[in-house]
Structure formats: C-alpha cells, structure tokens
C-alpha cells in the first residue's frame, strides 16, 4: 500500500465520518440533557430528502440545507413533545420517528418527482462544492506534507470544516458556559435543576432543538455533498452507528470525534477494497461492507468497557417534593 493510497483512504474517511460526527454530536446534546434519541436516523433521512428536493427545485443548496434542518427540527419537536411534555417512552417515540421518516420520505419524493421515491440528481449550485484551500495546488508537489495538505485537508465541502470545528465548539459550550453546566445537570439530576429555579422543560427542549439542527445538517450533507440527490433509505443506519460512536465515546465530545473517525475509516476501507484479495481467498464485498455494523454491534453489546450514560437519561421528569 503506497503513501498516496493511504492519503486517499484517510481523505475518504473524513468525508464518511462527517455525517456520523454531526449525528453523534446531535445525540450528544440530546442525551446529555437526559433525552435518549434513537430517532437520529429518521431525522437525518427526512433532512436528506427535503434538502435534496428543495435544493433541486430552487437551485440553491443553502435553501436546501435550511429546508433539511427545518424538517429535522420538526421531527425533533415531535420527539420533544412526546418525551418531555407528555412524558412518553423515549425509545418508542424514537422508533416511531424512524418509521415515519422511512415511509414519508419515499412517499413525498414519489409524489413530488415521480422518480420511484428518489429526487433528481443535483448539480451546480444545488450541491455543496469542494473548497480548495489556499495554495493547495502550489504545495501539492512538496513531498509528504504536500499531499497531506492538498489531498487530505483541502478539497472538502464547507460542511466538513464546520463539522470538525463543532467538536471544540461543543466542548467549550458544554464545559465552559452556563448553558453547558445546566444541560449536563439536567441530564444527571433534573430535580437539582428544578429546585435551583431553572426550567427543566426549557433546557430539554433547547437540547432537542440543537439535536434537530445537527441531524438536519447531517442529512443535508448526505444528499447534497456526499451524494448528489436523495435515494430511499440513504442514511443506511448511520444514525445508529452515530449512537454507537456516542456510547463508545462515553458521551464526551473529543472521543466522539475519534470514534466517528474510526467508523469512517472502516467505511472507507470497505469502499476502497470491495473484494479484498488475501491470496489464499478473496474476502467478498459484503463482508467488507458489514464491518462498521459489526463494530456497532460489538460496542452496543458493551464489549468496550463500562460506559455510564447520563443518570437521568430516558426518564421523564416528574416534579415531586
């Protein structure tokens, strides 16, 4: 394996890790506030569909992004209504949202474009184009560092850079601001927040709304940057992989980035080596594709040490003395 191949695989890792990381941070905000969210998948999916559809119709990828985020926030609000206001079961609400999104996206897309549940292919201003960082072309021939800058760091869409900047941003918000302190507290012991005179409901809705926006960006990235249009079930379980990454990271922002990169790497390897020839026998494409999911199952089954979730996670808050 030569140097350039490694660079290309890592480059692909970054692209593939981006939607995972966005969804993972979305889940991070929601779960740190005590609202479990297995509906990341559904929110990404509906955002993918609406962003692609609106981007195609208006020709503006930014309007597409806005529409995607809005649709995802709408589903997040539904989850909030069910689990915060009506104190319902958060897992059931999440499952319902996933089913709702899986069905509705195809039906709406079919009704809208008559293409069998997909949107037309996007091009030009309806897609996020790669950004070439300054001097990328000039330094490309410098040995070693040149390709790293020109191939690996340069040439991603704006959303990729924003996503990776969100990691220190999230860390700062959570550990250095009043909002972060209250958010962490409401996920651990909402009664403490309530008796301190802060609204538990308000904080949790805020967290769920942030989760909706981030899932929306993740979905829009899938349909308008990574791919060029929406197809049925295009999230392909990324919402669940993001959840696994969140657990792997033990609900902390920096480890969340590293675990998403690990999943991204597995996806990149699977894409690159569709049939891995080991000489003795050839590993079939399906075995490679299944790698990220196998890791997900291993993590979710708890084989990676004890991960302690936020203590009030999944429990609706009922005021009592």
């Amino acid at each position: 394996m030569d140097f350039l191949t490694i660079i290309q695989i890592l480059d692909s890792t970054i692209r593939l890790a981006t939607p995972l990381l966005l969804a993972c941070l979305a889940g991070f905000f929601s779960e740190r506030a005590g609202i479990f969210d297995i509906g990341l998948e559904g929110k990404m999916l509906i955002a993918a569909m609406f962003s692609a559809a609106v981007a195609y119709v208006t020709g503006s990828v930014w309007l597409g992004l806005l529409a995607g985020a809005a649709s995802s926030v709408a589903l997040a609000a539904l989850h909030g209504l069910a689990s915060i206001t009506f104190r319902g079961n958060q897992l059931i609400s999440g499952v319902a949202i996933n089913f709702l999104a899986a069905g509705m996206t195809v039906v709406i897309a079919q009704d809208w474009f008559q293409l069998g549940g997909r949107t037309p292919s996007l091009f030009g201003g309806a897609r996020f184009e790669p950004i070439i960082l300054p001097f990328a072309e000039a330094v490309a021939d410098v040995p070693f560092l040149g390709p790293i800058y020109a191939e690996l760091l340069s040439g991603h869409s704006i959303l990729v850079y924003v996503t990776f900047l969100l990691v220190p941003g999230t860390w700062w918000v959570i550990y250095r601001t009043r909002f972060g302190l209250r958010l962490r507290a409401v996920g651990e012991n909402p009664a403490a927040v309530d008796t301190a005179g802060v609204s538990v409901v308000g904080l949790r809705y805020a967290a769920v709304a942030i989760c909706g926006v981030l899932c929306g960006i993740a979905g829009a990235y899938l349909a308008t940057a990574l791919q060029a249009g929406f197809v049925k079930d295009m999230t392909a379980g990324r919402g669940f992989i993001a959840l696994a990454a969140l657990i792997f990271a033990k609900w902390r922002p920096w480890p969340a980035m590293w675990s998403c990169l690990l999943f991204g790497l597995l996806q990149a390897i699977a894409l690159r080596y569709q049939n891995l020839d080991l000489g003795v026998f050839t590993v079939p494409v399906q075995a490679m594709d299944v790698l990220p999911y196998v890791l997900t199952v291993i993590i979710l089954a708890g084989f990676v040490g004890k991960a302690i979730p936020p203590r009030a996670g999944g429990v609706p808050y009922v005021k009592e003395r």
């Binding site: 507290a185 403490a192 008796t195 005179g197």
Partner: protein, 511 residues
C-alpha cells in the same frame, strides 16, 4: 420582637389533591431569627405545606406574607427571589459535579462559567468562616459523606442569599454526631438572624433546638406552642390525638437455643468492594438482636444474604442446618421453608407489589400453600378470606383486601407485610426498618407485635437506623460500620452516645 413583622406568615392555606385535603386552612407566623419546628405524622401535610412555600404546588386558597409583604410563589425561582432556601430530605445535588458547580448551578453570573465559579469560591470561603460550614469546594458530591452533602445544600441556599431556611427531615440520614453538628450550624444561623423552619417527626430534635413548634395532624395545624412551655408527651398526644407509649413494655428476654448462627460471612460486590467483612453473630430463640448503624454500612446486605437473595461466602446455620449461600437453595423460598421469614427494609420495592391488591400481596411467597390452592388453580376466595382475617388481627385500615397496596398508608402497608410474615410462625424473623415512614400509632402496634413474637420463643434479627427503636426493642445491640460488627452492647448498659461513636467507626476500646 412584638412589633416586628413575621419572616413568614401563612393565612388560611388550603390544598387538596383530588378528594384528599392535604392542607386545611393553615395559618402560621414565624418570627425572624427563630427556629420554628413543624412536627406531625407522615401524611399530616407538612411536606405539602413546605412545597407550597417553595413553589412546587399552588395553594387552592390562602395568602403568603414574607416579612410583611404579600407574596405569590408560583415557582422555585420566585421562592428563591423571596429569600427562601430549602434543604430537601433527598438532596437535590448533581452527584458527579463538584461542590462548587452544584452551588453555582442556577445562580450563575452571566453566560461564562469561569467568573461565576471564581466568585462562588470566594463567597464560599466567607460563608464557611461565618457559619463554620466546612466543605472542600472541589470535591465531587458522590465522594463526600451525607453530612457534607447536607452542608452543601445549606451553602446553596445561603449562596442564594436565603434568609429563611426550610429543612425537611434533615437528620434522617445522619449519625448522632453529624446531627449534633447540624444543630450547632443551625444555632449559628439563628444567631446571624436567619429564620429556620425545621420539619421533623422526631420529638427529641424539636425539644432540643426549636423556639416554637407547630403540630400538624391530618392536614390541619392543631397547635402552635412555645417549645419551652411544652413536653414531648404533650406534643406526641397533639400529633396523634391520643396518648401514646413511647417506651416499649417488655419483660426481660428468656434466650433459648441458638436459632441463627453466622460465621465469617463475607460479601464482595461486582465493583470488588467488600460489603460484609467477616460477620459473626448469633441470635437465640426468644431474643431480639438489634443491628444499629448508619444506613449503607452493610445492614442491607446482611438482610439480603440471610433472606436468600444475595450471594455470599461463609457459614449461616438456621436451627443447626447449613444454609446454601450461592446457587440452588440460596433463594427466598428455600429460606422460608427453613423457617426464616423476612420483612424487607424497603417494603414498597421488596415487600409489596404496589399496584396489586392486598390479598394478592398476602399470597406472595406463600402462593403454593395448600390452603390457597384447589388443584392446579389458586383458591382466590380462600386467599381473600385469609387476608380479611389477617387485616382484622393486625388492625389494617381500611380492612379491604381488594384495595391496591399503594392505596394504604405507610403504616398499614407495613402491617400487611408483617401479617404475612409473622403469621407463618417462623423460627427466625428478619426485619428491616420496621417503622420507617410509619406513623406513631402504627409504630406502637408494630413494636408490640415484634415483642409478642419474641415472647413466643422466636428469634428476631432487627435492623434499624433509628437508635431509639433499637434501644427500646432489642435485648442485645450490635453496631455495624463499614461491613463489620464494631461491637455488641446490652441496651441497659449503653447509651446513644456510645452507640453513636461505634456507628461512626470508633472502635469499642477507644470509646
């Protein structure tokens, strides 16, 4: 003081939950710079009243005046703004936050944390010096003791500049020494002009520290008196509406053969922490062995091992027969067959299924009893009839077998569990916290039942965090600390002070 406005004045507060009138036309005046006790049985409405003051519930009628100003308290924010601080019975702290973070939470200055924390650290130092409230600001809550956690709650209120401090059953989780320290702090706060409302059901505390005391019974304020002009007996009578025996009448024990023999009992939990370290104890027929100790020092584990639902190593013999401590035979049913009955510490979680009817709860554990069965089917009417008879004998009110367990008061729930276990005529009764959350009238009855069982020649292992209960019921007292038995005493030859030292881990020789 006469022409000063009261710190808090309530006029005609009423609050109903459905058909239950929790507070009925309550009026009370608390003068500034005093400690005012509110005493009453469980369910008398004390906590509801305080929850109204702290903005958790809205009163159906009535007015609240703070320092003479009419005030409405729609939420906790308003209560804090009015200068009210509340220390709940179950602390409202974020366990994995530091002391400082807990104090700042909800009272930050601005969006960034760093300046808030720095300011809080400085204020905390001043408060510590002013009131002698020592805590390490950087300690994590779950790593400090309950006494320190309570001090954090008090500091939280003071940091929010509370002038009125409400404490709900503050000594329930404390050792006697910690309780004394708390009372010193409260005395200091009173000297500084703070007003304190102390909610408790312990007469001793009321007599020791309060200036005035109000008694609540069934949602009504039955009396407000100066503490110096009353007596524990008078207060007890006001609480329950009749005279009660605070002392248990019992004859000296007539110990017989050894029924329970425990040797070198050890429990290590899944975190690798030793919960029981080499426990040796014996209980003879016709005696009550009381296990004293602050909650969480291994008493629960001891009961669970003996009751058959926690694994352990060592030897446990009942009537000379070795009990399996792991694997097959280490279960509640085998224990019951060996003559062991168990009234668990937490009746709502382990003693009863709260949503099930009383008669179903009475059948639990004994559902294979021939009297309850007819072929392969259960004979429900037989169970109901038996339950009705038991309720009659144990004075369970209301005597309705079809009522769900959750609809009985704490005392009556406990009577149902007791009736089920005692009437099986066990050789050994394990009983944990027999009167926790039980009102005074029922306490008396439960104590009489335990003594009566002893007098029938049964062995009784009693675990309680109430020292008074241990001292008045037990024939021998063993004190547990950190999974060990610190020492054994005869109730007639010891006192609360000595037991308190043992409970705090000071060994017998040093004490």
């Amino acid at each position: 003081m006469a022409n000063e406005a009261p710190a808090i004045e309530l006029k005609g507060i009423s609050k109903a939950f459905g058909p239950v009138q929790a507070n009925k036309d309550i009026s009370i005046r608390v003068m500034p710079g005093t400690i005012h006790g509110i005493i009453g049985e469980n369910g008398a409405g004390k906590s509801t009243l305080m929850s109204i003051l702290y903005g958790f519930y809205k009163a159906d009628a009535g007015e609240i005046f703070i320092s003479g100003q009419k005030t409405t308290i729609p939420d906790s924010q308003a209560a804090i703004a009015a200068g009210i601080g509340m220390v709940f019975q179950h602390f409202k702290l974020v366990e994995n936050f530091t002391v400082l973070e807990n104090i700042v939470l909800g009272a930050e200055d601005g969006g960034l944390l760093r300046p808030s924390l720095a300011k809080a650290r400085k204020t905390l130092e001043e408060l510590e010096q002013e009131y002698d409230l020592k805590v390490d600001p950087d300690a994590i809550i779950e790593q400090i003791g309950v006494g320190a956690q309570q001090r954090v709650e008090i500091l939280k209120a003071l940091y929010r500049q509370a002038n009125i401090l409400i404490l709900d059953e503050p000594t329930g989780v404390l050792t006697p020494a910690e309780a004394d320290q708390l009372f010193r702090i409260l005395g200091r706060l009173r000297e500084e002009g703070k007003t304190i409302i102390l909610i408790t059901h312990k007469l001793r505390e009321i007599m020791e520290i309060t200036d005035t005391v109000s008694v609540m019974r069934r949602g009504e304020m039955t009396a407000t008196v100066k503490t110096s002009e009353t007596s524990p007996e008078e207060l007890a009578e006001l609480m329950v509406g009749r005279k009660v025996l605070l002392q248990v009448d019992k004859t000296p024990a007539q110990p017989g053969d050894v029924i329970l023999d425990v040797k070198n009992l050890r429990v290590v939990d899944e975190m690798g922490v030793e919960r029981l370290r080499s426990i040796d104890l014996q209980v003879r027929a016709g005696e009550i062995l009381g296990i004293a100790g602050v909650a969480g020092n291994g008493q629960s584990e001891l009961l669970e091992v003996l009751g058959g639902y926690m694994d352990a190593t060592g030897e446990v013999r009942v009537n000379g027969t070795l009990m399996p401590l792991t694997g097959a035979g280490a279960d509640g049913r085998s224990r019951r067959e060996s003559g062991v009955s168990h009234v668990p510490e937490d009746r709502q979680r382990e003693g009863l299924i709260m949503d099930f009817a009383a008669w179903e709860n009475v059948a639990f554990g004994y559902h294979d009893d021939a009297a309850y069965n007819r072929g392969v089917l259960m004979d429900n009417s037989a169970v109901r009839a038996d339950t009705e008879a038991k309720m009659e004998r144990f004075d369970v009110r209301p005597p309705n077998p079809a009522l769900a367990a959750k609809n009985f008061s704490g005392g009556n729930q406990q009577k149902i569990v007791l009736a089920r276990e005692i009437e099986r005529n066990p050789d050994l009764l394990l009983i944990g916290q027999p009167t926790r959350g039980v009102d005074i009238g029922a306490i008396e009855f439960i104590h009489q039942q335990i003594v009566a069982l002893r007098d029938q020649g049964k062995a009784i292992l009693l675990v309680s965090v109430e020292l008074e209960e241990i001292l008045s019921l037990s024939d021998r007292v063993a004190v547990m600390f950190d999974g060990q038995i610190m020492g054994e005493r005869l109730p007639s030859q010891t006192d609360e002070k000595e037991l308190g030292l043992l409970m705090a881990g000071v060994s017998g020789e040093a004490a």
